[in-house]
C-alpha cells in the first residue's frame, strides 16, 4: 500500500525526469571519451529541443489528420539529433581542426545553441499564431507507454517495467549499447585510446582527427535528443522561453558523477531525476525550493571529492580530456 501510493509515483516521476539527462549524459560521455570536453550540452539540447518539436509540429500540420504517431516520433528523433550534431560540428571544427580552447568554445556553444534554439522556437511560435503544440493524439505517442494496457496493469511491476514513455526504453538501449561499444569493440578501444593518449593512438595508426570528429558530432546529436525528450515528455510539447532550464549543465555534472561510464548513467540519471523533483514530492515547509534544486550539484561535488581522494586511475577522466592534439614535427 505504502509503496504503491508514495514510492512508486516518485520513482516513475524520477525516471521521466531522468530520461532527458540520460541522453545528454550518454552523448557527452562519448564525446569526452574521445578527449573532447564539450560544455555546450545545454546549447545542443536547446537546438535539439526546438528542431525536434518543430519536426513533429510541421509534420503534423502538413499531414493533417493522417499524421502517424510513430513517424512523428522518428522525425523528432532524427531532427533533434541533426540539430545537436550541427552544433557539435561547429565545436569540433573550432577545437579539433583549429585547436582552440575547449572550455571557451564549449561555453560559446552553450550560449549560441541556447540562442539558436530560442530563435527557432520563437519563429515557430510567432508564425503559427503565438502557440506551438502538437495535437493530443500525437502527444500520446510521445508521452504514453508503447506497451499494451494489460502489461501495465500488473501491480507494481507493470508500471515499473512497462509504464514509461518510449524514450525511456530507447535511452536504456542506447546506454547499454554505448557501454558495449566502448568496452568491447575495436573501434571503442581506439576511441578510448584517443581520449587517453592521442600520441599513442596515432603511433598505433589510429586516425585521431576522424575519431574525435565522429565521437563529438554523434555524441552531440545524442545529447540533443535529450532536449527534444524534455520538451515532448515533460514540458507538454509546448515551446516556452524557460525551455530546458539547465538540463544540459546537469548532464555535464552527471558525466562526472557516472565516472564516464554509460551504465552508471542509467541509475545516475534516475537519481538526478529524483533529486530534481524532490521539492514537489517531499516538501518540507522550512526548506526553500532552491535548496532542493542544488542537490544534484552538491552530490556531484561530493562524488568529485570522493574520487579524487581515492585517486584510483580507473575513476579518473580520460587523461587527455580538454587537450588539443597535433603531431609535433621534430
Amino acid at each position: 500500500m505504502n509503496i504503491q501510493t508514495l514510492l512508486l509515483p516518485l520513482i516513475m516521476a524520477a525516471i521521466i525526469n531522468g530520461t532527458p539527462l540520460l541522453f545528454g549524459t550518454v552523448g557527452e560521455i562519448l564525446s569526452e571519451k574521445a578527449g573532447n570536453l564539450n560544455l555546450g550540452v545545454e546549447g545542443m539540447m536547446y537546438m535539439g529541443g526546438a528542431m525536434g518539436l518543430g519536426a513533429a509540429f510541421y509534420y503534423e500540420s502538413l499531414a493533417g489528420t493522417s499524421a502517424n504517431g510513430i513517424a512523428a516520433v522518428a522525425l523528432a528523433l532524427l531532427f533533434s539529433f541533426l540539430g545537436g550534431a550541427a552544433g557539435a560540428l561547429i565545436y569540433s571544427f573550432v577545437t579539433i581542426t583549429l585547436r582552440a580552447n575547449q572550455n571557451v568554445t564549449g561555453l560559446a556553444l552553450a550560449i549560441f545553441g541556447t540562442g539558436a534554439g530560442q530563435f527557432i522556437g520563437e519563429y515557430m511560435r510567432v508564425t503559427s499564431g503565438g502557440y506551438v503544440s502538437i495535437s493530443l493524439e500525437l502527444k500520446t505517442f510521445f508521452e504514453n507507454s508503447p506497451f499494451p494496457a494489460f502489461l501495465q496493469d500488473i501491480p507494481v511491476l507493470g508500471p515499473l517495467l512497462f509504464g514509461h514513455n518510449i524514450f525511456v526504453y530507447i535511452g536504456v538501449a542506447l546506454a547499454v549499447s554505448m557501454s558495449l561499444f566502448l568496452n568491447r569493440s575495436r573501434a571503442g578501444l581506439c576511441l578510448r585510446a584517443v581520449g587517453e593518449s592521442p600520441a599513442t593512438a596515432d603511433a598505433a595508426g589510429v586516425n585521431v582527427t576522424r575519431y574525435k570528429y565522429l565521437a563529438t558530432v554523434i555524441g552531440g546529436g545524442i545529447s540533443a535528443i535529450g532536449g527534444m525528450v524534455y520538451i515532448t515528455t515533460i514540458a507538454g510539447s509546448v515551446w516556452n522561453h524557460e525551455g530546458l532550464s539547465g538540463e544540459g549543465w546537469l548532464a555535464v555534472a552527471l558525466v562526472i558523477f557516472c565516472l564516464w561510464r554509460p551504465l552508471n548513467a542509467l541509475w545516475g540519471s534516475v537519481l538526478f531525476g529524483a533529486l530534481m523533483i524532490l521539492y514537489l514530492r517531499l516538501q518540507l515547509p522550512f526548506i526553500p525550493d532552491q535548496l532542493y534544486k542544488i542537490l544534484p550539484y552538491v552530490v556531484t561535488v561530493i562524488v568529485l571529492i570522493l574520487t579524487s581522494l581515492r585517486s584510483s586511475k580507473d575513476k579518473q577522466p580520460p587523461a587527455s580530456l580538454g587537450a588539443a592534439y597535433f603531431r609535433e614535427e621534430r
Binding site: S185, L189, A193, A201, A203, K313, D314, A319
Partner: protein, 512 residues
C-alpha cells in the same frame, strides 16, 4: 657471417634544416647478433634508427632488408618488414591492460577478441620468460614491466629485427641484467637486435659488434671481443678542439658550498642523484659533465631548494658562518645569495615569463621590494636597460615580449638578471645550448667575470671541449653518482669521457 644481411644501410643521410643529423652512414646488421650503436648525445644514433622504424624518412641513401631495397614511410611499413623499435618514451595507454595496449595497433577485421590477444601474449611471455600478466593495467606496472610490454608488442606483431633505444636508462641493475638475459635468448633464437646506448660496460657485456657514431658521422664498427672501453671512448669523443677561452687562475679560493651525500629520489622512487659529495669554491668555475639525464638537473634543483633532497648542503657566505640549505624554501635560499640561471630544454620554461618584456622579467626577482600594494617598476626598468646595453640584447624595446626574442637573446636576459642580483653562488645549466659562437663567448666571458669577483660558479655543460677550456675543475656525473672530479687544466677529454660512462666508478677516478 651470412651473405645476406638482415639490414643493410647504404650511405644514409638525414638533414634537419641546416643540421646534418646523419651523414652518409653505412651499417649492417645480421640475424643472431646484438649490435651496439654507440655515440655521445646528438651523435645521430636515434635519428638513424628512427629511419628504420618509420618515424623519419632518409634524404639520401638506401635501406636493404634481407637484401631487398625497401622504402619505410611509417611504423606500419616497418612492421611489415619485420622491424620493431622500442622507444625511450613508452607509447602505452595508462588505463589499458597489457592486452588492450597490444590489441590497439592491430588492424585486424572483425570482433575484438582480447582473449585471443591475451593467449598470444602468454605464449610469447612463456617463450622468453617475461612473466607478464596480459590483464594487468599499465598504471600498476613497474617501469621494467612497461618496457616488457613494449617488447612483447613488437614481438606480437611479428618483428624479428628489434631496435631498443637506451633500454637501460630507467632500469635498476637487476632489471638490466634480466633484460640482457632476455635479449641474449632472443639473439640465440635468430633475431637481430640493435641497442642504442652510451654506456660502455653494457656494450662490452652484451653486444657482439659495436658501431660508433660521432657528430652524425659513421666512425667504424668493431667486434666487441677485440676492443676495449678505452679504444671505444677514443672513437666516441674524437680529438679535442682548442677553443682558447681566457681562463685566469682562481684567486683565493674558499669553500662556498659544501655538499655532502646529496640524494634525490624521483616520483617513482628511483635515485636520480645518489650521494653526491663535493665542494664548490668561491672564485672558481666548477664544471659539471655527464651524459644528459645523469642527475645534473636534480643536482642544481636540490641546491636551489626546488626539489626535495636528503643530505647536506652547507653554504658559507663571504666571511660568514655556514648555514644549512637543505630544508629551506627556494625564496630563503635565493635571499642567502644562491642564484640559479637554469636553462632547461625549453628556455622559457623555468626562468622567464614569455609574454612579459625584459622589465617584467627583471621584476620577477624584485617584486617583493615595492612599497605597499604597488610594485616598483623603476628599478627593474633601469636594470633591464642596463642588461640590454651591457650584454647587447637585440630587442626593439625592454617591454617587447621575451618569447619573441631569439634564443641567444633570451639566454642573455636570463643570465644577465641572475648576475645582477649579485649572487655568491651562480648555477647555470646548458647556458649556451643552441647559441652561436659569438653569443656563447659572451656567456663564457660573463661566467669568468663572476668567478673573478669571487663567486662560486657551477657550470653544467654538454661540450667537453668547452668544459675543459672554461672550468677550473670538472665534476663528472654518471647515473646520478659523482664518478670523479678532475682538474680541468690537466685532464684530457678521454679521461672525462671514460668517467661519464662509468657507473659508480669512484674508486680509481683521478681526483684533483
Amino acid at each position: 657471417m651470412e651473405a645476406v644481411h638482415a639490414i643493410e644501410l647504404r650511405h644514409i643521410t638525414k638533414r634537419f634544416g641546416k643540421v646534418v643529423a646523419n651523414d652518409g652512414i653505412d651499417l649492417t646488421l645480421d640475424r643472431g647478433e646484438i649490435l651496439s650503436l654507440l655515440g655521445e648525445n646528438g651523435s645521430g644514433k636515434t635519428t638513424l634508427m628512427n629511419m628504420l622504424s618509420g618515424i623519419y624518412f632518409p634524404d639520401e641513401g638506401e635501406i636493404l632488408v634481407q637484401g631487398k631495397s625497401v622504402s619505410i614511410r611509417s611504423p606500419k611499413d616497418a612492421y611489415e618488414n619485420g622491424i620493431g623499435m622500442i622507444h625511450q618514451h613508452y607509447k602505452l595507454v595508462d588505463v589499458f591492460t597489457a592486452a588492450e595496449n597490444i590489441a590497439l595497433g592491430l588492424h585486424a577485421k572483425g570482433r575484438l577478441d582480447l582473449k585471443q590477444v591475451a593467449a598470444g601474449i602468454r605464449k610469447i611471455s612463456d617463450q622468453y620468460g617475461f612473466g607478464i600478466d596480459p590483464d594487468k593495467r599499465i598504471y600498476n606496472m613497474s617501469v621494467s614491466e612497461k618496457q616488457t610490454v613494449e617488447i612483447i608488442k613488437v614481438l606480437y606483431r611479428g618483428a624479428d629485427i628489434l631496435i631498443l633505444d637506451e633500454p637501460t636508462a630507467v632500469l635498476t641493475p637487476q632489471e638490466t641484467e634480466r633484460l640482457f638475459t632476455i635479449l641474449r635468448s632472443m639473439r640465440d633464437d635468430g633475431k637481430a637486435i640493435v641497442i642504442i646506448t652510451h654506456k660502455l660496460h653494457e656494450v662490452m657485456s652484451l653486444s657482439d659488434r659495436v658501431s660508433v657514431l660521432r657528430k652524425g658521422k659513421y666512425i667504424g664498427t668493431l667486434a666487441t671481443a677485440q676492443t676495449s672501453p678505452q679504444a671505444l671512448t677514443d672513437m666516441m669523443v674524437g680529438r679535442a678542439v682548442r677553443l682558447n677561452i681566457d681562463r685566469p687562475e682562481p684567486m683565493d679560493p674558499k669553500p662556498r658550498l659544501t655538499v655532502e651525500n646529496l640524494t634525490v629520489l624521483d616520483a617513482e622512487g628511483v635515485k636520480r642523484l645518489d650521494g653526491a659529495t663535493f665542494t664548490a669554491l668561491g672564485g672558481e668555475i666548477l664544471g659539471v659533465a655527464g651524459i644528459a639525464g645523469s642527475g645534473q638537473r636534480e643536482l642544481l634543483e636540490a641546491i636551489a631548494g626546488l626539489c626535495p633532497a636528503t643530505g647536506s648542503v652547507l653554504f658559507t657566505p663571504e666571511g660568514g658562518a655556514p648555514t644549512q640549505l637543505i630544508g629551506k624554501t627556494p625564496m630563503q635560499i635565493k635571499q642567502a645569495g644562491v642564484a640559479m640561471a637554469f636553462v632547461p630544454e625549453d628556455r622559457l620554461g623555468m626562468g622567464l615569463v614569455g609574454g612579459m618584456g625584459m622589465t617584467g622579467n627583471m621584476m620577477l626577482r624584485s617584486w617583493r621590494k615595492g612599497r605597499g600594494a604597488f610594485v616598483d617598476r623603476r628599478d627593474p626598468n633601469a636594470l633591464a636597460l642596463r642588461v640590454k646595453e651591457e650584454l647587447e640584447v637585440v630587442t626593439p624595446s625592454v617591454e617587447f615580449p621575451v618569447r619573441r626574442l631569439s634564443g641567444g637573446n633570451v639566454q642573455k636576459v636570463l643570465v644577465g638578471r641572475e648576475i645582477a642580483s649579485a649572487p655568491s653562488v651562480l648555477m647555470s645549466a646548458y647556458a649556451v645550448r643552441g647559441l652561436d659562437i659569438n653569443t656563447s663567448y659572451t656567456i663564457y666571458h660573463l661566467m669568468t667575470e663572476q668567478k673573478q669577483k669571487g663567486v662560486a660558479v657551477i657550470f653544467v655543460g654538454e661540450d667537453l671541449d668547452v668544459l675543459l677550456e672554461l672550468c677550473d675543475r670538472i665534476l663528472v656525473l654518471c647515473g646520478g653518482q659523482v664518478s670523479g672530479i678532475v682538474d680541468a687544466r690537466h685532464a684530457t677529454k678521454e679521461e672525462v669521457g671514460l668517467l661519464m660512462t662509468r657507473t659508480g666508478g669512484k674508486e680509481d677516478g683521478p681526483h684533483a
